[in-house]
């Protein structure tokens, strides 16, 4: 639809990527010896480690749910992850992202298998470069699988945005701050469901649809990278559950 328009207008992105190109992604699972499951992700210059603990006993116990497990997520940035240094105390932003992360991941986990238990997902941002919440979701879903927690499918996530009138995939820090719109999306390729959707900025309805399609393309690419990371650790041959 707007392809021709894009080609004409598109100057290179600040890091030289094409409009529909993801940043380089590296995922490694099982990096934390003490965690039940873990993953390390580098998505552009984002560096994030996620640890999963559980299913384990819920504390305080009165918060446990009699019919299913409780998924708890924590998004936390290291003081040295951004410029200038930030306080290690969690901010309002951290708390909100922890929540949307939980909602992004919950649909993928068979929580009903573990009544009363807690599953804790802790994301530690070691270096932030725009799109940390999406990178966290990518690493967290790999870490949940690494912990052996049964899941309906992997959750893949990336952001789409608009800068100088162009729709672009996977915003870097600069594009995030200078852009006209930012739309982080998490998607379960297997269930074909969007589990995280936020936006700020201004988009027309048409642009929104274009963004969403681009985001889902991006998530599908990330899905393959997540699967490769798991195959690398567990040495799985082709899964019979391929779409």
């Amino acid at each position: 639809m707007s392809k021709r328009k894009k080609k004409k207008k598109t100057t290179k992105r600040y890091d030289g990527r094409k409009p529909d190109e993801l940043r380089p992604i590296k995922i490694e699972s099982g990096v934390l010896p003490n965690a039940d499951g873990s993953a390390y992700i580098e998505m552009g210059r984002n560096k994030i480690v996620v640890g999963v603990f559980g299913p384990r006993e819920m504390h305080p116990r009165r918060l446990s749910k009699p019919n299913r497990a409780t998924l708890r997520c924590r998004y936390h940035m290291a003081p040295f992850s951004v410029d200038p240094r930030r306080s290690p105390a969690p901010s309002r932003r951290d708390n909100e992202i922890s929540m949307v992360m939980r909602y992004a991941l919950e649909p993928a986990v068979f929580l009903e298998r573990y009544p009363r238990a807690a599953i804790d997902v802790y994301a530690e941002i070691l270096e932030a470069d725009g799109g940390t919440r999406t990178a966290c979701v990518n690493a967290a879903s790999v870490a949940l699988v690494d912990a052996g927690i049964p899941m309906r499918g992997l959750v893949s996530s990336c952001a789409v945005g608009k800068i100088d009138g162009n729709i672009i995939l996977d915003l870097g820090d600069y594009e995030d701050k200078e852009g006209q719109a930012d739309l982080p999306v998490a998607y379960m390729p297997k269930m074909e469901k969007v589990t995280l959707l936020q936006m700020d900025g201004i988009l027309t309805v048409q642009e929104f649809e274009e963004c969403l399609n681009l985001a889902i393309d991006g998530c599908n690419q990330i899905y393959e990278i997540q699967r490769e990371a798991l195959k690398k650790k567990y040495g799985l041959e082709e899964q019979e559950s391929d779409e």
């Binding site: 934390l32 010896p33 003490n34 039940d36 210059r45 603990f53 290291a78 040295f80 992850s81 530690e124």
Partner: protein
């Protein structure tokens, strides 16, 4: 102070550790005075002005150094500020929970901080910009990513490795204002203190304790040495005491181990 993971080592395991240590060996096959494999990587982060990742076996600590502008303390208006902070992240151990800093993470930060401060690692008077108003603030943040015992030695090594790796942005004084320039320079490090932690189990003294050994230890002693062999910091914890002979032996042991740790810097 109690170790963080009290209750995980069973009484049987505790007895076994004590028995094995009494024969001069350890559960993981090391001798009492052997340390685990040490891996030091520097410059692992781009946004921090300095960084280092240090592993002692399974123990994994990431140190990030941020240099910024701030107000000096009232009692030292012409000196820069060095601050050391430690965080036990909840990914590091199943018993670590999110929340305000725990007693032992504060101790960790303070012991490492005292080592840096006492050894006069930085020339703080050279980090002054406008007396009483603007000085450089140097933050060393220690991020514990996996707990496998001996956090102090690992963190102290990470802190000094990260400081040595630090390239700070230069501020320029213009009248009574300061402005950020594009230029950078390496942070000058005058001393390189290294911490050596020993635990006493029964009558034996062990270096580089694992998480299990730290939990069953009767006492713990950390000694920090600079490269000239001067003692910069001491911290003793635990319910048992040391005899003076044991302390002399510990100092001698520290001198040897510090030299070995220092090779990784």
């Amino acid at each position: 102070m109690m170790s963080s993971n009290v209750g995980i080592v069973s009484r049987l395991k505790k007895r076994k550790i004590n028995e094995v240590v009494a024969t001069g060996k350890r559960m993981d096959g090391r001798g009492l005075e052997d340390h685990r494999e040490i891996v030091v990587k520097t410059g692992v982060l781009e946004k921090a002005e300095g960084s280092a990742e240090v592993r002692f076996g399974d123990t994994w600590v990431l140190a990030g150094v941020k240099v910024g502008l701030g107000h000096p303390f009232e009692d030292t208006p012409d000196k820069g500020v060095l601050m050391c902070n430690a965080e036990y992240t909840p990914v590091a151990h199943p018993t670590f929970e999110p929340g305000p800093p725990r007693e032992d993470s504060i101790e960790l930060a303070r012991v490492v901080d005292r080592g840096l401060r006492s050894a006069k690692v930085l020339e703080l008077d050279k980090l002054n910009l406008i007396t009483g108003k603007h000085v450089y603030m140097v933050f060393v943040d220690l991020y514990v990513l996996n707990y496998g015992g001996n956090l102090i030695d690992c963190s102290a090594l990470a802190a000094i490795a990260a400081l040595k790796n630090t390239k700070m942005r230069i501020y320029k004084v213009k009248g009574d204002q300061v402005e950020l320039t594009k230029r950078t320079k390496a942070l000058k490090i005058t001393k390189e203190p290294v911490a050596v932690t020993m635990v006493k189990i029964g009558d034996s003294i062990l270096v580089d304790p694992t998480a299990d050994e730290e939990e069953v230890r009767d006492a713990r002693l950390t000694i920090t040495l600079d490269e000239d062999g001067n003692i910069c910091t001491i911290q003793k914890t635990g319910t048992e005491g040391f005899t003076t002979d044991e302390l002399k032996k510990a100092v001698e042991l520290t001198t040897r181990k510090a030299a070995e740790y220092r090779k990784h810097l």
